[in-house]
């Protein structure tokens, strides 16, 4: 059983979340919410905890303290009688099915063709029949502009193409939430724009809630509904892009932005 | 059931000395041959390389058992002299594992980054100095884990000397004990296995210490993780010793 959320219009809630790696406290009693359909970008220096937040949502890491809620269900804990105990793998898998992730290194399965990469999740996790999964795959390949690559091997594709397939693969699961972990950082500069344009398109045409970690400030400014500046595991500033990028309140934000934007 | 245990242990221990002698003798010869032929395979001279390669392929490609039987039973017919079992054993173990060891040395030397060679050339070191002062010390750390396995293989190989009537531990168990205590065969062989296990642990302990010394020599910490790469080059050398 899961703990019902108190607000109807919260898709993601981090409640007093603590994450420790050994002695290193990466997230310290973090609290924030994300509304359904919102596009939130996380910026900040390396090690500030931004990627950890994504990894916690994707259950690639476990919280050291606090709770995470997704779409009204508690990801990290279940109710046993009148107590809350840490959730087991099965429960986390269930809740996790609503969340998709696109990785910096694409992580396509090299031993499968593109089509099978796209249908694997829907068939094995969602239990879709093969015909439906394949129809969905074709639809998404058309969306990302790679219809002709349906039978190609990932190793035959360029970085930009692989990332677009990875995006299609995540979308094939029809997620409520999509996590983007520095998805253009491993791409040749000339391929970055194509992927970002695709993401912007998806963000504008679907109800998916986005949580995005990126160094592409232009993209962040253009597409986000909200930007959160992180430093040392804390949210330093949380505002709409126009405000945060032109007139940041916080000194730390200003310092970070001037360093990053100067390098162009 | 355990009343005869001390008899078993003492009988088997009578073979211990020969086992240790065969193993150590084989190790010494194997080390020497590994470096000689390993470096020979990297020689500039094609003839030297080919000759070394032939040696390696012949000794690796034939069965140890057959080699032993040949040297003990067949060679005397050819040359007219008998060979003492221990000596025959040491020669075969040394030559055989020297061939595997040559691949280890070759692989380790080749794995030293090219930049090191170039640095040494830039300092105008002679090839011999280059090898001795720069390349080999760095290669040594890489060599130790595969050699550890190889030496344990060699130890296990010493058990084969029973086939040529050397009175090492396996011989003691088989010829002396099994004849008279066949109903306790399981226990007897278990004791034998434990003896070998202890010797193998001793070898590994020694080699770990050697690895630490070799790493200190080049200011490095020896790596803990066993990589697929280092394993495939040890396995490539057909060394039956697998996991590093």
């Amino acid at each position: 059983m899961s703990e019902p959320s108190t607000e109807a219009d919260v898709m993601i809630r981090f409640e007093d979340v603590v994450k420790r790696f050994g002695d290193n406290v990466v997230l310290d009693e973090l609290n924030f919410t994300v509304a359904p359909g919102e596009f939130v970008t996380l910026i900040g220096p390396s090690g500030s905890g931004k990627t950890t937040i994504l990894r916690l949502l994707m259950t690639l890491e476990q919280v050291s303290g606090g709770k995470i809620h997704v779409g009204g269900e508690c990801l990290t804990h279940v109710r046993r009688g009148d107590r809350l105990v840490p959730a087991d793998e099965k429960h986390q898998r269930q809740v996790r099915k609503r969340i998709g992730m696109v990785f910096q290194q694409f992580n396509l399965f090299p031993n499968m063709k593109v089509l099978q990469n796209l249908t694997e999740g829907p068939i094995r996790s969602l239990g879709l029949p093969r015909a439906e999964a394949e129809a969905r795959a074709h639809e998404l390949l058309e969306l990302v502009g790679l219809t002709d690559k349906v039978n190609a091997h990932p190793t035959q594709l360029s970085g930009g193409q692989q990332q677009r397939v990875a995006i299609a693969r995540a979308l094939a699961m029809r997620p409520d939430v999509l996590l983007l972990d520095e998805v253009t950082s491993a791409l040749d500069p000339e391929l970055v724009a194509g992927v970002l344009a695709l993401l912007k398109d998806i963000a504008n045409t679907t109800d998916i809630t986005f949580l995005c970690v990126t160094h592409e400030m232009g993209f962040a400014r253009d597409v986000s509904d909200r930007v959160m500046m992180f430093d040392q595991g804390q949210i330093v500033e949380d505002a709409v892009p126009d405000k945060l990028f032109s007139e940041p309140d916080h000194e730390r934000t200003r310092a970070f932005l001037s360093a990053v934007l100067e390098r162009g | 059931m355990f009343d005869n245990l001390s008899l078993f242990v003492s009988t088997i221990s009578q073979g211990l000395l020969l086992t240790v002698e065969a193993t150590l003798g084989g190790i010494v010869i194997a080390i020497v041959l590994s470096f000689v032929f390993g470096l020979a395979m990297l020689s500039k001279s094609r003839t030297v390389r080919v000759l070394a390669r032939i040696y390696v392929e012949i000794w690796r490609g034939t069965s140890e058992v057959v080699q032993l039987l040949w040297i003990y039973f067949a060679l005397p017919i050819l040359i007219g002299y008998r060979i003492v079992p221990l000596l025959a054993g040491i020669v075969v173990l040394g030559m055989n594992f020297g061939a595997y060891g040559a691949e280890i040395v070759r692989g380790a030397v080749q794995s030293v980054p090219k930049a090191q060679y170039e640095g040494a050339i830039a300092l105008s070191l002679t090839p011999a100095q280059r090898m001795r002062r720069v390349i080999l010390p760095q290669a040594l750390v890489e060599m130790v884990p595969p050699f550890n396995n190889l030496f344990i293989q060699l130890l296990k190989g010493s058990a084969l000397l029973t086939l040529i009537t050397a009175h090492e531990m396996t011989y003691q168990a088989r010829e002396v004990l099994i004849q008279r205590h066949i109903d306790q065969a399981g226990l007897i062989w278990t004791v034998v296995l434990l003896f070998y296990l202890v010797l193998a642990i001793l070898i590994t302990t020694g080699m770990r210490a050697l690895e630490r010394w070799a790493a200190r020599l080049v200011g490095r910490k020896p790596s803990q993780r066993r990589s697929l790469r280092s394993m495939t080059f040890a396995a490539k050398s057909h060394a039956p010793g697998g996991g590093l």
Partner: protein, 219 residues
């Protein structure tokens, strides 16, 4: 020089016809056992249950560090006592397979660990069940990489099959020894055996090197 060519050609066909098939059988069956059991052991080594991991590790280390010859004797004497009356070849095959399974386990382990962690993470992101992740994502990437190493172990097994002559199996070496003991002249028969093993293992190693090249290009 005491070499007798007549005797050499005399025993050659006998050694080949009697021994070759047995040698092949021992090598092939031993390899099958080693490859399958090795994978099982490798997976057990990754079990979340600590005791399973520990016992598997101890088992692997014990078998790897002790002589195959002694293990052959052990099984030869002990199996009948517990009711398993196998013929010598079967006992030998089990011993060889078991011994080399422990080597194969380490090879599989390294292959599995070489699969990039991102693959595991992508499988998690798609909520694939664990068994499916192993079957469809991890093992298909781990196993091709380790085939050359496994191939080399088959060659090693080939060369250790002569140990079975000690329990009465007439493989190439056993047949050679028998021929030799009939006429009290071992030189030529054992030389035949030696040459045969050389030819067999060299051809097999060429095969393995070809395999290495093929597997290398896939990834």
């Amino acid at each position: 020089m005491n070499w007798d060519w007549n005797f050499f050609w005399d025993v050659f066909p006998d050694v080949v016809s009697d021994g070759l098939l047995i040698t092949f059988e021992a090598t092939v069956y031993g390899s099958v056992i080693a490859y399958l059991l090795g994978l099982v052991l490798a997976l057990l080594r990754r079990s979340p249950v600590r005791i399973v991991r520990g016992v598997t590790w101890a088992f692997i280390e014990f078998i790897r560090s002790t002589p195959l010859l002694v293990q052959i004797f052990f099984l030869f004497f002990v199996l009948p006592d517990i009711g398993l009356k196998f013929d010598p070849l079967t006992t030998g095959v089990i011993a060889i397979g078991l011994h080399y399974a422990t080597y194969a386990a380490e090879v599989y382990r390294a292959g599995i660990e070489a699969v990039p962690v991102g693959q595991w993470e992508a499988a998690t992101a798609l909520s694939l069940p664990r068994a499916r992740t192993w079957r469809a994502v991890i093992l298909p990437q781990a196993i091709p990489r380790v085939l050359p190493a496994l191939g080399n172990y088959t060659i090693s097994m080939l060369k250790e099959t002569p140990l079975l002559l000690t329990i009465g199996v007439l493989d190439i070496a056993g047949a050679a020894f028998q021929e030799g003991s009939e006429r009290f002249r071992y030189l030529e028969p054992i030389t035949v055996a030696g040459i045969l093993f050389l030819v067999l293992s060299y051809s097999a190693s060429l095969l393995v090197r070809w395999l290495e090249r093929r597997v290398g290009t896939v990834h």
